[in-house]
Symmetry: D2
Subunit: 352 residues, 4 copies
């Protein structure tokens, strides 16, 4: 059994990976670290865990980060893991980080992201020497790198759905001007469990709220990734995130012009070929729906072309807390340890 320490264990991201690891045949969770709720049992913090996990939450001081663990999962905000990275690298303890800290292979790329991030004031990276050794955790595109890496930067929740939805088009050089217009709809859990006016049920229930229009930081990793795939020559994503009155899910509707006319059937076939063998990408004949992946690690994708075949609408949908966060992390952990990618992730979506 591989021993896992979860840092940031009391947020939704920590909870998610904890639940997956509890049900995984090859991993065990040995310590939970968090600022909030230190000293409480995790099933007091989350009563739905009663009977499933009774570990006590510890501070980072009490449970030394990396100590006694074969791998650490940082389910923490930006700029946390980079402070521990060098020590862990020196100690030979691999880790996955949920934030943007290790999603970028160079300080230049990271700076583009940091400049967009609402809570990063200073774009210098504390562990920039390690950026080149980290893998970006889109399991479907970079499994080889992830398998070799001791540091994995888990993708942003919006980014993963956009990247998977557009990868075949960019790889084939099919996106005119590399330009895509994107409207993404996210459940409220994407912002974490911290109370905030936007997350108040009375405000968000029955509501749709566009925010950070054309300025959201997740678009950077998607642009950098898609723009460098195969025949792509850069990507410009006009991205409009919306938070909606639902708990889970991100559905992205993406419009592009094509460099050469195509048909829906041809493109769907190309998508199926591109993702052949990937356990968690499903190319559907019908549009995906937001809750069609709830509780599972699937990314569902479909598309429609205009009558003249010159324009395309691609739709992708994920559970933002699974494929958009903990599910991808679990998949990446499996890859890092040479296990079946789908181990511990073989789950039917919860519907209705």
């Amino acid at each position: 059994m591989r021993r896992v320490q979860i840092v940031g264990a009391t947020g939704y991201g920590g909870l998610g990976i904890l639940e997956l690891l509890l049900a995984h045949p090859e991993f065990e969770v040995t310590s939970l670290v968090a600022r909030d709720a230190a000293g409480q049992r995790i099933d007091e913090v989350y009563p739905h865990l009663t009977g499933r996990c009774a570990l006590t939450v510890q501070t980072a001081d009490d449970a030394q980060v990396g100590s006694g663990a074969d791998v650490v999962v940082f389910a923490t905000p930006d700029r946390v893991s980079q402070g521990y990275a060098k020590a862990l690298a020196d100690a030979g303890v691999p880790f996955i980080d949920y934030s943007g800290d290790f999603r970028f292979g160079s300080t230049a790329d990271y700076a583009l992201y940091a400049a967009r991030h609402p809570s990063i004031k200073d774009g210098t990276h504390e562990a920039d020497a390690l950026l080149g050794r980290a893998a970006y955790g889109v399991s479907e595109l970079f499994a080889d790198r992830i398998a070799q890496a001791a540091i994995v930067g888990n993708p942003g929740c919006f980014a993963i759905g956009i990247i998977l939805g557009l990868a075949p088009l960019f790889a084939d050089g099919l996106v005119a001007d590399g330009a895509v217009s994107i409207a993404s709809l996210s459940g409220s859990s994407g912002a974490g469990k911290k109370p905030a006016p936007l997350q108040h049920l009375s405000h968000l229930n029955d509501n749709v709220v566009p925010y950070r229009v054309l300025t959201h930081q997740h678009v950077i990793e998607a642009e950098l990734t898609l723009g460098r795939l195969g025949a792509a020559g850069g990507a410009t994503l006009d991205f409009v995130p919306h938070v909606i009155g639902a708990t889970r899910g991100i559905l992205s509707t993406m419009h592009a012009r094509l460099t050469r006319p195509s048909s829906r059937e041809a493109l769907l076939e190309r998508y199926r070929e591109y993702f052949a063998g990937q356990p968690f990408v499903r190319v559907l004949d019908v549009p995906p729906m937001l809750k069609g992946q709830a509780g599972s690690n699937y990314c569902d994708i479909s598309l429609v072309t205009s009558e003249d075949g010159r324009r395309v609408v691609v739709m992708s949908s994920i559970d933002n807390l699974m494929k958009g966060q903990s599910g991808s992390a679990m998949q990446n952990l499996n890859i890092m340890f040479g296990l079946d990618q789908a181990a511990g992730l073989d789950r039917t979506p919860l519907y209705p």
Copy 2:
């Protein structure tokens, strides 16, 4: 035009009375007072007010409480209005208060309430000499007192629906042992707009959370009121509030044993007689539903008896922000100023 000052103008309660007053032919709002957002225009705080109200929020220091007003509405938490009460009484400025500060006619009654209230540490009342001069603002029961009073204690949101739903039974001495078992379901807006873990959409969406089981403070005013009506000889209400994943509404389902057998038809007829002429109580043949009063001041009531006629289930439903708060306040203001009770309140519920 009567001039109204709203204290606590930026909460849901302040917003509610502001909107009602803006549409009222006989009142004008002359100042908005609040701690939060002082210096902002109210339509910056609430963009849905754009084009409808551009008043600037002031602190209690900048806009002296009571100054230039014919009446003050305190849409504030417990223990705020009692600090201003004596000065206002001395100045001859009447006021309505949303909190429990003036719902009780004696220090003894208030003490019962204060002891139950989660945020009242010390049950002494700063303006206890004025308690006897205040009216409890259940418009349907105490209109005469309200019309005479310079101080009105607006009822609690749970209490008003319970009181109206049970008043005919208690008045007629029909409730065995004065005992009623109550399950009430409240939308999240009842707790106000302040972000909190319980109000987080990801937590509350699709959820029902019982809380303060048998200990909620609103039951005190309901017990004291019902237990003293007509042939009643006290009331014991076993009250279980639940917050649910909806924005508005309180529906209460209330079980009682009857002192003498009756039928559904006979009781419905008695209810219709009891509430005859009341513009905002509707006795329905079918069970009321939570959103059947949304945006309106109605209290909808219906009931069912057991086959043997010895037990009854009464259901009442209101919009907690209207009849449960601002609507009752508007109705009471109308009564205080000798206007038609329904002035400014003639609204069809928003359905669907």
Copy 3:
């Protein structure tokens, strides 16, 4: 008092105009016609109307369409009003129709729409001779025509928000290639009250479902209208409707490239100028939100430009049952009868 007959009175569209007319100082509803529920009182069909309206629903046979009415409102599906149109025109009874029957000024335009409509098999129009005499009911663009017309084709719920959101850009010739990519989110009430698998709460709750991707019929009226405004030279709208787990509202997020660079500030100023004096269009500094217009007739609009000023995102939001249906109908009735456009429509959105 002008006498109004509502045909299709038991659907959400009939209910909406009934409620508005009940509160209107210059109109009275004299008969309700519907296939369903004939013989029932309308407050039995909709208990929330108890105490507000007790008219009995009649069949079209029992209450002759147009009889005893100064105006008829057809809140009916496509192909109903066109069957009554000639008789009403001959009798000099004006009418408004909610469907696509009279939104188009020519048989050619109507044929484009009919070909797209999922339930229209045969695109011939029973009253094509009257098409040229009908006005398209976008109050903000065609008030002069509406004021003169005896037939008004009320706009589609998606179309009105898209048209108002894009009109200033098209009128100024600012939309490159006339091409706009649109993602629209609609509450479930847009599909009416008829039960259907898509509308089942267990399916739609917490869900977002794209449908009729690039094939929805509402886009035709928007393309024809926008493409002919001012300096516009046609419009191509790639339109993706989504139904979401909310009751009311349509929010549209629209991406376009600009023919000449501009700034957010300049465009917002142009929008404010364009809509100056319009009582129901609000140009906001912040993105509109889906429920910011609930229960009101407002269309809220805002926009953001890309850093280089070459691309724009416009967002518009309405209550689909108000500005998207009954509210526009009420506004058009006011215009037809020479009344203040806002009569009976002066309502603050219901928030939270």
Copy 4:
């Protein structure tokens, strides 16, 4: 591998057991039978099953009921399984039924239920000779009988939560007069996937609708079961079901007077003792919440006593499609085949 045939496979109940069986190490699903959608693949009916199950739905004619199966699950309405029961019994094929057909051990008991059921006109049972051989499928109370039985009547969704919540009190003779007042809140999925006005999102969203007040048929099985436990001397349950705007879950709030005073602590301890060793009953210190069991087979229970210890409020909560339906069926199948009760059911609730 035990071979399972599911009859009624396209409803929520059939879907639920299908998903559980797909993930179960000891069972395989060999045929899906349903009236609707015969000839379609189940992942066309439910796209979220893409990649997980591609069985084709067959009619009862094409796939003979019971043929080639070690056990049949009837996820069908009342009066279906009783028509197949004798043939299956003769053939030695055991079955579980979701309806009320085999929940009662005698024709007398069944008649009480049938008289209450809104869609049963004639209370005669087609296979009454088999009633005495069937077990009532409350796994926690009747595991021994279930293990022996070839026919199991799976409990009603409301009944199971009520029975588990009250069993310790009735068994100990603690319920005064055997009388309990119950308010139960159910998500919409309890009524199945068939579209209906009550299930329309526009109606039910943000709503709570009491229905069948004091007349719901599920109360019969709960009264008969509880009233015969241990020291109980009959049960009278005043039951008010409410459907709410959520997909899953049933939370019941139950008020009773106690025959002898007790404390919360003492009763909680008794509950923990009573359910010791039961894998799916969790006695919590805090009130359970509706979505605290989503996707899992848990029944969470807690309680509060009045200050004088003479009255109690018990709250129980389940996922109505799991413990309230397919989860109990899976647990009963495990018991019938001598497997670990929890096999295939070891799932953490989906939260948030």
